[in-house]
Symmetry: C2
Subunit: 333 residues, 2 copies
Amino acid sequence: MDKKVITIYDVAEEANVSMATISRVVNGNANVKEETRKKVMEVIDRLNYRPNAVARGLASKKSTTIGVIIPNITDLYYASLAKGVDDVASMYKYNIILTSLEESVGDEEQIINNLLSKQVDGLIYMGKQISKKLKRVFMHSKTPLVLAGSVDKNNETASVHIDFVEAVNNVVTQLIHNSHKKIAFVGGNLENPIDGKYRLDGYKKALKNANINFSSDLVFEAENSVRAGEAIFDVIKNTNATAVYVTDDLLAAGILNSAVRSGISIPEDFEIITSNDTILCEVTNPKMSSIEEPLYDIGAVAMRLLTKMMNQEQIDENVVKLPYSIVKRESTR
Amino acid sequence: MDKKVITIYDVAEEANVSMATISRVVNGNANVKEETRKKVMEVIDRLNYRPNAVARGLASKKSTTIGVIIPNITDLYYASLAKGVDDVASMYKYNIILTSLEESVGDEEQIINNLLSKQVDGLIYMGKQISKKLKRVFMHSKTPLVLAGSVDKNNETASVHIDFVEAVNNVVTQLIHNSHKKIAFVGGNLENPIDGKYRLDGYKKALKNANINFSSDLVFEAENSVRAGEAIFDVIKNTNATAVYVTDDLLAAGILNSAVRSGISIPEDFEIITSNDTILCEVTNPKMSSIEEPLYDIGAVAMRLLTKMMNQEQIDENVVKLPYSIVKRESTR
DNA sequence: CTGTTAGCGCGTTCAT
DNA sequence: ATGAACGCGCTAACAG
């Protein structure tokens, strides 16, 4: 005896009104006499009627759902962004379809198309770069898109992020002021523009301002993991570098731990500064100084921007740069 | 010049067949001549036709979407579970609607109802407990539900988790073997059954087996954060406890760091063992020993189980207990 | 203020 | 192997 699914018609019949009226009260339309509104509400409650969002979506061409493309949920960097997106989304009554898309993995196009087929009203993309193929898919659809934490070289796509160049320039300059001459740069994937272009540019800029020659021997690439960090420390140390800027907290934690274990005093003999200010910075010993990228806010602002775009509101700024700050802890002097 | 949305009718017309045929090829129905199938495919490609999943959902009463209820995405514990769910879900072509539900926050009922209104085909619940009100909502709907990482006291709901009692019993017994007499128990929220019942029971069981009297003075409750851990260490130390079992990695990291900073040698003078084996265990110095709850697998198995339920397949075991193990690192002898 | 009706895009009989 | 026609549950004119 399957309980039959209750539709708007059942409610209408039970309340002795037309389905249109039910639709009106459900959608908060003012054109309903208070009396009938009450009666309808009572019936809705009694029958335990729950509107079918799929049918509603088909009729209204709006799904109140957005697609979020995220490289890796277990990376605190992305998880923090996602949290910001999520909070604002639920504030505006949107649901989130979460889709993993490890960078540099195939069929990204199919994944986006699948999302679009679900008729999402908007998209948030968190990847560090956006392939040409993907860009074409996005452009071809009319679905609004916002990049969270990432940059579009041509500023064609709406995006929210910090000024990576300035942030890195800033911290590397501080290291230079602490009289370091050889400062290493450790990036995750130098293929992607955030690490390989903006951050590296900031590093170069700081060196140039201080008349220090750039040397590619001091630039390292490593996977974002503790182990990779542990492994790379010796290599860094062999260059006689006395300080390092790292683009990822896990990586930085590995480097720091490896340094500490080999008996080096931090920050006296070696300084480390990292980039994301995730909770990892508080867990290492000594605690890590970091650029503070306001991840939660970036996610939140990106989502807010998206709601405006979905609402066809006027957007004053396509590209939003949020302020960063620098959190000094124990891994720098 | 808005590009018109392409429907199945447009494809049908262009290919000179009926929409039924298009539907057949899109859904892989065998009853289509190879020749017409090819022609249709060609047209689909040319017109860049993308089936509307919402319309399909309305007609078929299946959304190929599942709802995932998660307390906090930025908690590595839940993020790892989610990763497992996500991977298996995409393997089976399901999309995930991610919904945050901080425990002990209001309108949980509304959140679930919203999810159900979206016609999700199944639900994964990650909370540590499930309120009576929520349970009623779940029971009332016919939507399959699986608990990931959590236990249903009455085994009425499908669930995937480890044997919390045995795991804690096991590690506490090991601490006892290391000749500790006073072992503290630090739990997150003792209101929830995982910490306040199962894990605590395991702790008590170990003590009892060793003829050590249980004392509530050695049981602590603290929020799952580094700061709370740092703050609580002194209190623990004042009890003259020489070892501690902690239910959360962040909390454990705080305790460990506070201990190290106050000059205590770990594991010589004080042992710490934690519960979730997240990456935090590798980041602290010394690295933390931990129960290894196979979070990714729990998520993956939960999702797999859900696919079976959605498929009306026979389920042999409603409750799946996955094996745990114990990872010895540097915070225990 | 309320009811009627025509779609929304697609799956699915039931004929042919 | 293919097509015609109905219905999924709801929104949105339009009419009254």
